[in-house]
Symmetry: C2
Subunit: 424 residues, 2 copies
């Protein structure tokens, strides 16, 4: 028998309980010994009621082989996981916040205590990505990661794109479906995606990447104008997580981008996730599936549990996937060249266009056909694209335009992916 | 040091040699000790010349830890792999013919001799699929596999679809690019896809599946008419490998299908592969990448080698992926319900249509708009779709139509995927 101690019994936790009843888990003799919950009363009528405790000590006092942490958040998960490792328990976690912030330290602790720390469910929900990346593709130098790793924002952007909804109304719908939290900031401001990108990039580039230093822009102010214009120009808008190994170091960013509709990631709709890994030998490999949800996430948690069991609860590990001792990655994107679409409201149209012409080398004014655009976009705008410009350069030039007397206001600066120059 | 004996040094073999020079492999102390080739003279000027031998005994006499078989074909690969396992050598192979035919037997032999037999590269080239399927998704009951697993036929069909080429001309182009063999039958007749489907299905459904019993149709007689009509109706044509667990057993087939253009597999172009695994917990997971080629396939071979090395050349194995002892799968598809498109040349149009109306319950005549179809399809045809009909039923009714005096000839019977009823 392999005894599991479950920390947390919310959505993912109850999914783990459900999957453990399956024949494929039963035949591996996996069973839950204890479940730690905050509030016993909330679970009083559940079939697993006799396993419940609200004292963490009961988990470590018991005959537990594997601690499964599915509470989320840093506090108290960090303390519990640390204690579990220190007391020689294997840990499986779905907690991206925890792994993005303390993964290196915790993995070191696991090694020192002769146990394993696995976290497949922390990125991409049910999609196998950590294991394929770190094991199947081990012979590759990974040069790039591009992904849609947040289902909430992808659902919102899909609804805006397909149904013409406003951001607020699409967000409300996502909340009604349970795809978005009451406080949606971690998702819509890109923090969640940045954490997942940090985890994947740390493994892929064998670097120590702090998600707080990843350049991050959210989707909160994407407007129906942005969507209409993207559609008109043959793009969709996605919150893209991108990281790349360059001669200057590792570049990473999370931001909404205008993505060519032919791009494989442009097809990823609703709450689905997809991640493209580029390896020097294998080329592009794409992984697609449900990036969240009770059973998909529990499927990944169980995959990790079974991995530990297959290794006879031993300390099999070739190398740490995450480590504090790895070189810290340079994270600024200032010198990266990218393509942009810019919309602004002029106070003097001709002067604005003249200033733009003087500022940028490779640019193109866009004059949308008002009829085909069905009047969706305010006509009193100047819209242009800029190609192959560095991030620092665009920042300075946009600042100059913002201060210019001929410009009333900058309405949108958004990256274009899939164009000619496509650095991070 | 981990010593590798390489059997074969063609495309994949030279890819393995190339990848082993990389830093990620050097730091794992992997090195090639011996390379077995058929004709020493063909390799006399290569940098690896000093490792060459044309005697298999030199491989097993040497201090070899892992034998890597990349010769392809059954004979002599089967004998070599068997001898290697018997003499306690781990084996990594990219050989789908060998694994599809002898995988169960060889895996048993590996177990008995305390070594491992890995074969990630045998399906999907560089795409991680065997390991994610058998490890990451281990908690799932797999209910369905759908995939484009043969790059050659996908290249040919893509060229026919996108450039209006004939089958013969697209095949010639595939041969010129090196995507198709001089004798293309294994690919175009669906044998290669059937072997890969047998390997995946055996693992997914824990059954013993003989590829020779998989229902198989090739793409040799797909015509420009078929392509034009598919395009017109909003489909693409793909060689699809499908297997499914049903109450009656396991159903599997390889055949060209009309695939709705909105299907994720419809987007898979050129020589790429993609496989969708449906698990009861995880839902649909899609894996996409280069299904063949020197470095992608070598990437998968190296992934297996590194896996063996990470386990300290030990016999880590939880359960055999393939086994002769597993229950044999029922492979006939007679009772499966599917949708079909049928084109025939009538000798008496009205009588033919009357016979069809009497024969089928749920059907629909299609009268393509000749102008939109640009005259591509011979107008003297009767075209109709049939929905939710069993394979045995369609076979009998088509036979009856073929014998009918009002029918001149049956031009095409092709399955439709993505429609209403979608059994295998």
């Amino acid at each position: 028998m392999v005894n599991i101690g479950l920390l947390g019994c919310g959505t993912i936790g109850s999914g783990v309980v459900e999957l453990l009843k399956k024949e494929s888990c039963q035949k591996r003799q996996l069973r839950i010994e204890r479940i730690l919950v905050r509030n016993l009363n909330k679970h009083y009528d559940k079939p697993y009621q006799h396993m419940l405790t609200d004292r963490f000590e009961d988990i470590l006092d018991g005959d537990i082989d594997i601690v499964v942490e599915v509470m989320g958040g840093i506090d108290p998960a960090y303390f519990y996981v640390k204690q579990s490792l220190l007391q020689g328990r294997h840990v499986v976690t779905a907690n991206k916040d925890l792994i993005a912030r303390h993964g290196g330290e915790l993995q070191k602790l696991a090694r020192e205590n002769g146990v394993r720390l696995l976290f497949e469910a922390s990125v991409g929900g049910g999609i196998p990505i950590i294991k394929p990346l770190s094991e199947s593709l081990a012979a590759n130098s990974i040069t790039e990661i591009r992904g849609i790793v947040n289902g909430t924002t992808n659902f919102i952007l899909s609804r805006m794109y397909n149904s013409g909804k406003s951001y607020q109304s699409a967000l409300a719908e996502a909340q009604a479906f349970g795809f978005a939290e009451a406080d949606p900031r971690a998702d819509v401001e890109g923090y969640d995606a940045a954490r997942k990108l940090a985890i994947l990039s740390s493994i892929a580039f064998q670097s120590s990447i702090d998600y707080e230093y990843i350049h991050r822009e959210g989707i909160e102010d994407i407007s129906t104008d942005d969507i209409s214009l993207a559609k008109y120009l043959g793009y969709t808008i996605k919150l893209l997580a991108v990281s790349r190994k360059t001669d200057d170091g590792i570049m990473a960013r999370v931001s909404p981008v205008m993505l060519e509709t032919g791009d494989p990631l442009a097809q990823v709709a609703d709450a689905y996730n997809a991640i493209i890994i580029k390896g020097d030998a294998v080329g592009d490999v794409l992984f697609f599936g449900q990036g969240a949800g009770k059973l998909p996430t529990a499927s990944a948690v169980l995959g990790d549990i079974i991995d530990i069991v297959k290794h006879n609860l031993g300390q099999y590990r070739a190398e740490d996937l995450l480590s504090q001792d790895l070189p810290e990655a340079r994270m600024d994107i200032e010198n990266c060249r990218t393509n942009f679409l810019i919309r602004l409201k002029p106070s003097n149209r001709l002067e604005t266009m003249s200033e733009i012409s003087k500022s940028f080398q490779r640019f193109e004014f866009i004059f949308p056909d008002r009829i085909r655009l069905q009047g969706a976009v305010d006509p009193d705008q100047v819209i242009f694209t800029v190609w192959g410009v560095s991030e620092i350069d665009i920042k300075q030039k946009i600042d100059a335009l913002r201060k210019s007397e001929s410009v009333h206001s900058i309405l949108r600066v958004i990256r274009i992916e899939g164009g000619e120059i496509n650095d991070v």
